[in-house]
Symmetry: C2
Subunit: 154 residues, 2 copies
């Protein structure tokens, strides 16, 4: 188990591989973001996207899929996230792209009110196959502190 005390400020992790398919881009857009440039080749060609591009929220969802795979593999004692800051869609994501993820721990703080938990901030960047950043945000994550062996469990 990875606890708050195991986190190292500045530590970077690289993980994930997500193949973006046209079918999935269209399926997500139809349900959640049916703007013409996410649904139609010709409409997309007339915009700054240049061609059919994934919804930005779809890129967030695909990034989350890579993150969950990674935290499951690392058995992190995470307790969910209250939110994210400074989320930026930096480049369009296209069908055929292959995404990967990098994180850097930028802050780790014990809770002032709850001695058994803390939180950390992690800068998450998603790259495409050309190593261009397509998405960046700072994630706030709640995490357990390492149980104190000198304190008997209640």
């Amino acid at each position: 188990m990875q606890y708050l005390e195991d986190l190292v400020i500045g530590a970077k992790h690289s993980f994930g591989r997500y193949q973006v398919t046209r079918d999935e881009v269209l399926e997500f857009a139809r349900k959640y973001d049916p703007q013409p440039f996410h649904l139609d080749d010709e409409a997309a060609a007339r915009t700054h996207f240049g061609r059919l591009a994934a919804s930005g929220w779809h890129t967030c969802a695909m990034t989350m899929a890579m993150i969950v795979e990674n935290i499951t593999a690392n058995e992190q004692a995470g307790l969910g996230s209250p939110g994210v800051d400074e989320l930026r869609w930096l480049k369009p994501v296209f069908p055929g792209d292959v995404l990967r993820c990098e994180t850097e721990i930028v802050e780790a703080t014990p809770s002032r009110s709850k001695p058994e938990i803390g939180s950390f901030r992690s800068q998450v960047t998603t790259y495409n196959q050309h190593d261009e950043p397509v998405l960046r945000f700072t994630s706030i994550v709640l995490i357990r502190r390492r149980p104190d062996p000198s304190v008997a469990p209640a």
Copy 2:
């Protein structure tokens, strides 16, 4: 068409109705956020969620569906979004919830480098059927400026 010049700082809009179903919560979680509290009733009961809850990114996606429906109806001259700030998941979203959306325009600025566009910031809040805010973020949106009739088109 609604242009930058038509936006009023402090103007609020209320719109949308999104019925959250158990099937959709599970389908999104399986694909993009397969953490136990988004997939399994018993696992969720052991967490602060209390019961099966939607992925936070799913709540963003459902909110986007309401926003797109609204901007389509209002014919806003929007050009997409570079990102969002201070996104917070304030309360869990459960199957059976009915979501709605409120926005408030907090800032509108002409571009310094491109005379034909500008951007605005809008605080987006998603509420459940108990009028509890479940999600809040500040959206940055690019938008066209009203074409100047004294300038002949090129």
